[in-house]
C-alpha cells in the first residue's frame, strides 16, 4: 500500500469518481452540438459549473470560466491587465504560473513589484498598503501557499486595495486553499479567483477562473464562443463533470475534511518535534492550511529523504512538484529569508482527508529512521 502524503502536488482521485467518469464516457458529445449528445454534454458542464460556483462561494451573476488548469486561469487573469499601464503588485512567494507571466510584463516595461513575505511566509496587509499606489492596476496574491501552506489575509488585503486603489483588479490564486479551507468570492472580496481540479481530487487538465459580476476581461485563448466567449476551444467535458462532482462531495464535508487533515498534521508535527532533533516547521506562526507541513530537517538532503521515503512507499516532496529531476532551491523559502542549506533540507508533507490517523505514527517512524541513517552517512562521509 502506498501512503500518499503529497496531496498538495496532486490530490489523486478516490474511487467515488469512477461512476462519474463512466457515465460521462457513455455520452461524450461536443457541448456546442445542437443534437442530444451535444446537449447532454453541455448539461454536464453546466451542472459542473453550478457545483464549482457553489464551492467557491461565487454569486449568481459571477462567471466561472473553465480552463485547462490553474496555470491558464492565472495567465488569463494577468493578461486581463496587460494593456493597462498602472503598476502591478504581487508576491515573491507566488507560484511560477503567476511569477512568470508577471516577469514577462516587467521585461516589457511594466512596473511590477513582488512583495516579500514576513519570516512566516505571509503577505501582510501592511506590507501591501505600503506598496499600493492610486494607479495600481492589479493586485495578485495567492490565497494559500503550495509549499508552506501559509494562508494570506486576502479579505483584509482586498479591503486595502479598494480603499487606496479602487481602480485596481484583485486576483487570488486559490488553487491550494480550495478543499482545505473555506473559499468565498464574496467574503474574500476579489475580482478574479483561480482554482484547480486536481488539487481537490478531480482530474488534472481542468481549472477555472471565477470573474466577479461587472468585471470585464478579454479571453486569453481566442477561438469559438465557448465559455461565454471567454475561452475558445471545445470544453473538457469529462474534466469539468468530475470537477463538479468532486466539488459537490467536498461541499458536503468540508469542515469534517479539514478536521481530519488537521488532526493528522498536528499529530505529525508534535511527533517529529519529539523524534527528530532540530526539526523546525516553516511558517509555524502563521495561519496555515490544515494539511500542510513544511519541515526543515538539518543535516539531510531533502531529495534523498524523498527517495528514502518513497522506498518505504510513503510519498512526500521537497516543495513544489519538480519536472526536471534537477531540483532548484525553493523560491518560497528563499523569499522567507532562509539560506540555501535550509531550503535544501526542507521537505513538504501534505495530508489527504482520507488518511487514517493511525498511519501517522508509522510515517513518523519511517521519517525518523531515514533521517537518522542519513545523518550517520553524512557524519561518516
Amino acid at each position: 500500500m502506498i501512503i500518499d502524503c503529497d496531496a498538495n502536488a496532486t490530490y489523486s482521485p478516490d474511487e467515488r469518481i469512477r461512476g462519474v467518469i463512466s457515465s460521462c464516457l457513455e455520452d461524450l458529445g461536443n457541448p456546442s452540438s445542437l443534437h442530444r449528445s451535444g446537449q447532454r454534454a453541455r448539461a454536464a458542464i453546466e451542472e459542473g459549473r453550478a457545483s464549482v460556483k457553489s464551492l467557491i462561494g461565487a454569486g449568481d451573476k459571477d462567471t466561472v470560466v473553465f480552463t485547462s488548469g490553474a496555470t491558464e486561469a492565472n495567465n488569463t487573469a494577468i493578461a486581463a491587465v496587460a494593456d493597462r499601464t498602472g503598476p502591478i503588485l504581487s508576491a515573491s512567494t507566488e507560484h511560477p504560473c503567476v511569477l512568470q507571466p508577471l516577469k514577462r510584463l516587467a521585461a516589457r516595461g511594466r512596473a511590477v513589484t513582488f512583495l516579500s513575505p514576513n519570516s512566516d511566509g505571509m503577505i501582510t496587509p501592511e506590507a501591501l498598503s505600503a506598496a499600493l499606489t492610486p494607479d495600481t492596476s492589479l493586485v495578485s496574491i495567492m490565497a494559500a501557499n503550495n509549499e508552506t501552506g501559509v494562508i494570506n489575509p486576502i479579505a483584509a488585503i482586498a479591503e486595502r486595495v479598494r480603499e487606496f486603489a479602487p481602480q485596481s483588479l484583485i486576483h487570488t490564486d486559490a488553487a491550494q486553499l480550495l478543499g482545505k479551507g473555506h473559499v468565498s468570492m464574496k467574503a474574500l472580496g476579489v475580482d478574479l479567483l483561480t482554482v484547480s481540479a486536481h488539487k481537490i481530487g478531480a482530474l488534472s487538465g481542468t481549472g477555472a477562473l471565477c470573474i466577479r459580476d461587472g468585471v470585464e476581461i478579454d479571453p486569453l485563448l481566442l477561438g469559438g464562443p465557448q465559455e461565454s466567449k471567454l475561452r475558445g476551444g471545445t470544453e473538457n467535458v469529462l474534466g469539468i463533470a468530475v470537477f463538479g462532482a468532486v466539488s459537490a462531495m467536498i461541499m458536503a464535508q468540508l469542515a469534517e475534511r479539514c478536521e481530519i487533515m488537521k488532526g493528522a498534521r498536528d499529530l505529525f508535527e508534535e511527533s517529529i518535534a519529539r523524534a527528530i532533533p532540530g526539526a523546525v516547521v516553516n511558517g509555524a506562526h502563521a495561519p496555515r492550511l490544515p494539511n500542510t507541513s513544511s519541515v526543515y530537517i538539518p543535516g539531510v538532503r531533502a531529495d534523498d529523504l524523498i527517495v528514502a521515503m518513497d522506498l518505504e512507499r510513503i510519498l512526500i516532496s521537497s516543495g513544489a512538484a519538480c519536472t526536471s529531476g534537477k531540483p532548484e532551491p525553493s523560491h518560497v523559502l528563499k523569499a522567507m529569508g532562509q539560506d540555501e542549506e535550509r531550503t535544501r533540507s526542507t521537505v513538504r508533507v501534505s495530508f489527504r482527508a482520507d488518511l487514517p490517523l493511525d498511519t501517522v505514527p508509522g510515517i513518523v517512524i519511517a521519517l525518523t529512521n531515514a533521517v537518522e541513517r542519513m545523518r550517520q552517512v553524512v557524519k561518516k562521509g
Binding site: 500500500m1 502506498i2 496532486t10 489523486s12 482521485p13 538532503r301 531529495d303 534523498d304 527517495v307 528514502a308 518513497d310 522506498l311 518505504e312 512507499r313 526536471s324 529531476g325 534537477k326 531540483p327 531515514a370 541513517r373 542519513m374 552517512v377 553524512v378 562521509g381
Partner: protein, 380 residues
C-alpha cells in the same frame, strides 16, 4: 492515478542486499539492471544528473549521455523491470571533481582521464553515500569488469570482453568498495549484452555506443577552451628550439599525438613529445623521441589484496614483473614495477615500449593481463 499503477512497484524492504543500479540510459546498464532483476534482489534505479549541456554546447541533441532523452530510456527500462527509479542531482560534485580537474589538467600540459575521476569521486563515493542514505547496501554499474572474492579479499579482473574491458577506469576502487559493488555484465561480451537486451525487449537494445567522454559533445579542445577560457597561443618547436610553426594553445595537444598538428614538409612524421605550460611551447620530435627508458607513477592506489598488505606493512624497494596499461585504448605491455613507497612506483619497459602521456593513468595488471593490481598517474 489508477490503483493498479500504484500497486505495481515491486516490494522494497530495506534488506542487506538492496542494490542501487546506476543507469545511464544505455544498453550496458540496462542489461545490468535486467540481470540483477532475475536474481530477485531489491533494486533501485538511479540516473546521475551530472552535467548541464547548455554550459558547453548550444545543441543539446549532441549530448552523448545524461540528456533528458537518455533518462527517459532509463526510466522506461526501470518501469519494464518493475523497479523504482530516480534521477539524482550530482551536478555540483561533478563540476568540482571531474570537469574542473579535466580542464585544469589539459591547461597544465597534461592529459586527464575524467572517467577515472568520475568513478572514484562521484560513482563510488557520492553515489555510494546516496545508496546508504536510501538504505541500500550495494551499488551496481554497467562496467565491463569483474570482481572475485577470495580468502584474502576482493580481486578486480578485466571484463571477459577484452575489447570492451573498462577495468582501467576502476583502479581507484578500495577493498571496502569492491565488496559492496556489482558489475553484472563483466562476464558477458558486448554482442551478448545486446542480444540479451533484444530478447528481453529493452528499449535501449540498439542504442549506439556512447562516446569516450560523456560530457563533451564535439571536440575536447573546444570544450576546454570554452570552459577554461581561451588560452594563450604558442609555438611549435623542435627539440633544439627551432620554431617551425604556431598553435592555438597547449590544451589542444597530448604527448604522443601525431594527427592534427597541421605541419608538413618534413621527412619523417612528427609527434608531440612534450608540452611546456610556462612558455606555451609544443615540442615536436620523432617517435623515438617519445621513448622513455623508465617513468614514474604517483598517487598509487593498491587494489590486489596481497599488494595492499605488503605495501601497507611498509614494504618498499621490491620489484614485480607486471603488464602496464598506459592509456584507455592500450593492450598493456610488460614492464618491471619498482615500488618506491606506498604512493610512488617506477616502471622500466621489458622489451616493447609505449608512448606515455603525463597525467594519464598507468594501470598495472598481473602477467596474465587479467587481474588489476594497482594504478596511479603518470608523473611529468
Amino acid at each position: 492515478m489508477s490503483s493498479e499503477a500504484r500497486n505495481s512497484l515491486s516490494p522494497i524492504s530495506l534488506t542487506d542486499r538492496s542494490i542501487v543500479v546506476a543507469m545511464s540510459g544505455g544498453v550496458d546498464s540496462s542489461v545490468a539492471a535486467y540481470l540483477l532483476s532475475k536474481t530477485g534482489a531489491q533494486l533501485v534505479g538511479v540516473s546521475m544528473q551530472v552535467w548541464d549541456y547548455k554550459k558547453s554546447c548550444s545543441d543539446n541533441s549532441k549530448a552523448t549521455c545524461c540528456s533528458p532523452a537518455d533518462f527517459n530510456d532509463a526510466r522506461r527500462v526501470a518501469a519494464k523491470l518493475d523497479m523504482p527509479y530516480y534521477v539524482v542531482d550530482f551536478e555540483a560534485y561533478f563540476e568540482k571533481e571531474v570537469i574542473n580537474r579535466f580542464v585544469e589538467t589539459y591547461q597544465l600540459g597534461m592529459t586527464p582521464n575524467p572517467c577515472i575521476d568520475c568513478n572514484s569521486r562521484v560513482k563510488f563515493r557520492e553515489l555510494r553515500e546516496r545508496a546508504l542514505s536510501f538504505g541500500c547496501s550495494h551499488v551496481a554499474t554497467g562496467h565491463y569488469a569483474r570482481i572475485r572474492e577470495s580468502a584474502d579479499g576482493f580481486h578486480l579482473l578485466r571484463g571477459v570482453d577484452r575489447d570492451k574491458d573498462q577495468s582501467y577506469f576502476l583502479y581507484t576502487c578500495r577493498q571496502d568498495e569492491l565488496g559492496k559493488t556489482l558489475f553484472p555484465i563483466g562476464d558477458y561480451t558486448k554482442p551478448q549484452i545486446r542480444e540479451i537486451a533484444r530478447e528481453v525487449g529493452l528499449v535501449t537494445a540498439d542504442k549506439p555506443e556512447s562516446q569516450d567522454i560523456c560530457f563533451v559533445a564535439g571536440s575536447v579542445q573546444d570544450f576546454v577552451a570554452k570552459i577554461g577560457g581561451r588560452r594563450q597561443k604558442g609555438d611549435f618547436v623542435l627539440k633544439d628550439g627551432t620554431k617551425i610553426g604556431e598553435h592555438d594553445g597547449i590544451h589542444r595537444f597530448t604527448v604522443g599525438q601525431r594527427k592534427g598538428l597541421n605541419i608538413g614538409g618534413l621527412a619523417e612524421p612528427l609527434y608531440v613529445i612534450d608540452l611546456d605550460p610556462a612558455t606555451h611551447r609544443v615540442i615536436l620530435g620523432s617517435r623515438e623521441d617519445l621513448k622513455r627508458e623508465n617513468f614514474t607513477v604517483r598517487e598509487m592506489h593498491w587494489v590486489n589484496p596481497q599488494l595492499i598488505n605488503r605495501v601497507g606493512a611498509g614494504a618498499s624497494g621490491f620489484e614485480v614483473d607486471v603488464i602496464v596499461q598506459v592509456r584507455s585504448r592500450h593492450h598493456g605491455v610488460r614492464a618491471r614495477m619498482k615500488v618506491l613507497d606506498k604512493d610512488t612506483c617506477s616502471f622500466t619497459w621489458h622489451d616493447e615500449w609505449a608512448a606515455i602521456s603525463p597525467g594519464q593513468a598507468a594501470v598495472v595488471y598481473d602477467l596474465q593481463n587479467e587481474e588489476l593490481l594497482a594504478g596511479g598517474r603518470i608523473s611529468k
